[in-house]
């Protein structure tokens, strides 16, 4: 911090006459705006992101996210490797929700191929995607506590996430970058007893969930730090193209799983197991940080409902369709958007009928949810800026791709 900081005390300009007749002098203290680099290695920026803050004393007068520290040209790689080979790269943009990324990419390619997915594979896809959503929200929830100075929830949520990751380890061998959901189905059937363990996880998790809710979400200190902070009104949310919990946190009832159903979510919805939580502005203005955290917390519970529905309805059968070793995708273009934990993950793929994609565009929800920071951080206190950044739940691997 080498910026010069000067304070000038100007002459008393205004004076008010107090009720007892004495005069009160108002002294103006002008401080110059200071530029403050937050990051790229600041623990509260959730990765290598840099935010250039402009502060006037304690007030934030400008915030500019600078991206690109993690840029790995995922889209260019997609144009250089074969269709099936690109799958492991999808794990790496939103590394907290790798199952969902696999699903999005596979669905985009399947749309061009026009193939049917076996029913058991669809069920396993939903189970994995929803478990991964819980894992991702647990991180968002735990690290948000860290951002606000509460260390305990972080340790609790990582305990449950550990179980979720070991479930994934049993099914595909990896703990973070799964590549389990493949084009045409899933990589392998479940090991014996796996579905029973998922069911036990669901039961245990709901008990723990209630603890988190009481400990953090309804905590008066937590409410004090997050209610009425970083408010995103409805119009702003739509103008900035927000999706996922950020959109529902502003009171807009929209979820791709229910409103544009893909995979078997349409059946889940018909069975009544898909109740999307939408913020109502209970603790402050609609669209504040508390609302966004509340939406994520409730979504974890909803995901358990969806997983339970799948566990009740899953049947034996094949898990992957027959595909040639070298995949040739019919010429055409397709866009598929799915509901990632952070919002809409879109894949736009273009094929010319060959072994390699012509274009492999990734619309990352973190990237699209981030620019709103420039707007909502204006005029807030410096101490709240961390609360606001944390509530957007960015994963920098995805903003930079």
């Amino acid at each position: 911090m080498d910026q010069e900081r000067t304070a000038t005390v100007t002459e008393p300009k205004e004076s008010a006459v107090l009720p007892d007749g004495s005069k009160e002098f108002v002294v103006d203290v002008h401080t110059e705006d200071m530029e403050l680099n937050m990051g790229p290695q600041h623990p509260a920026t959730h990765g290598v992101m840099r935010i250039l803050l402009r502060v006037d004393g304690e007030l934030v007068t400008g915030a500019q996210p600078h991206l690109g520290y993690l840029h790995r040209c995922a889209e260019k790689i997609g144009e250089n490797v074969e269709w099936l080979q690109y799958l492991p790269y999808t794990d790496r943009y939103d590394y907290l929700a790798a199952m969902n990324n696999n699903l999005g990419y596979s669905m985009a390619v399947e749309k061009l191929l026009g193939i049917e997915i076996p029913r058991r594979a669809e069920m396993l896809r939903i189970i994995c995607a929803e478990l991964n959503r819980i894992g991702s929200h647990l991180i968002a929830f735990g690290t948000y506590g860290l951002d606000l100075g509460a260390f305990t929830p972080f340790l609790y949520t990582f305990r449950e996430r550990e179980w979720m990751m070991s479930l994934f380890e049993k099914i595909c061998g990896a703990r973070l970058t799964y590549s389990y959901i493949r084009i045409g189905g899933v990589f392998n059937d479940t090991p014996p007893g796996w579905l029973g363990e998922v069911s036990r996880f669901c039961d245990t998790f709901l008990v723990k969930w209630q603890e988190y809710y009481d400990l953090v979400v309804e905590n008066q200190i937590f409410i004090g730090r997050t209610a009425d902070v970083g408010v995103i009104p409805r119009e702003m949310a739509m103008d900035f193209g927000l999706t996922g919990p950020m959109l529902r946190g502003s009171g807009i009832d929209f979820d791709l799983r229910r409103d544009m159903p893909y995979s078997l979510y349409g059946e889940v919805d018909k069975a009544g197991a898909l109740n999307i939580p939408v913020a109502r502005g209970e603790k402050g203005s609609l669209g504040d940080c508390w609302d966004r955290v509340w939406v994520r917390t409730m979504e974890m519970k909803e995901s358990i409902e969806i997983v339970r529905w799948c566990l009740d309805n899953i049947e034996a059968g094949p898990v992957i369709g027959e595909l040639p070793k070298t995949l040739r995708v019919p010429a055409g273009e397709a866009y598929v958007g799915i509901e990632n934990p952070r919002g809409e993950l879109g894949h736009y793929v273009v094929s010319d009928g060959g072994k390699v994609a012509v274009r492999c565009r990734v619309r990352g929800p973190s990237f699209c949810n981030l620019p709103v920071l420039e707007e909502i951080m204006l005029g807030t206190l410096l101490a709240d800026s961390v609360a606001i950044i944390g509530s957007t739940d960015v994963v920098v691997g995805e903003t930079d791709r």
Partner: protein, 172 residues
């Protein structure tokens, strides 16, 4: 609303700049060169009319595309003289999508910015500009976003040559 319904509505309200629609079709079994086309339908729009077209899509009560979901560009290949601009619109109220495409020449690659219509376009346009070398006219903040400021070339163009070194770091 489905794609045909959206197209009919666009014609009925007189949205500017529509050049045509492209829908997936089956392979022609008699013509071996014909590959057919799979995937999504899209509307082809004159690039100069983009801003007005998107404004119509956003403001019409029956279309009501409140969200600009995605904005990107595509280089279809070295044989092609044109770049595609891709827009993907989403309506929350009516739960439908529309893919919009405009074609601009690679030689003189500039297009109007739509950041006035959708604020979401601003960052997407910055990305497309640095990756494809497109100049978005009247863009409020035309800086690089993912690449360093001194990066040479447009990485997502098909004729991009990989750099040998960057600031003394060998890339080979």
């Amino acid at each position: 609303m489905d794609f045909t319904g959206i197209c009919d509505r666009l014609k009925a309200i007189g949205a500017p700049g529509i050049l045509g629609v492209d829908e997936p079709r089956e392979k022609n079994p008699e013509d071996k060169k014909d590959l057919g086309r799979a995937g999504d339908s899209f509307v082809l729009v004159d690039p100069e009319e983009l801003e007005g077209f998107l404004r119509f899509c956003r403001d019409d009560t029956e279309l009501q595309f409140e969200l600009l979901c995605d904005l990107t560009a595509t280089d279809p290949g070295n044989d092609d003289e044109e770049l595609w601009l891709n827009y993907n619109l989403l309506s929350i109220a009516h739960k439908h999508r529309l893919a919009v495409k405009a074609k601009i020449s690679k030689e003189n690659s500039n297009a109007p910015s739509v950041a006035d219509v959708y604020r979401a376009a601003q960052w997407h346009e910055r990305e497309a500009a640095e990756m494809f070398g497109i100049t978005y006219r009247n863009h409020p903040d035309p800086r690089h976003i993912l690449l360093p400021d001194d990066w040479i070339g447009y990485p997502l163009r098909k004729d991009y040559e990989y750099p040998k070194e960057y600031r003394g770091i060998s890339c080979e």
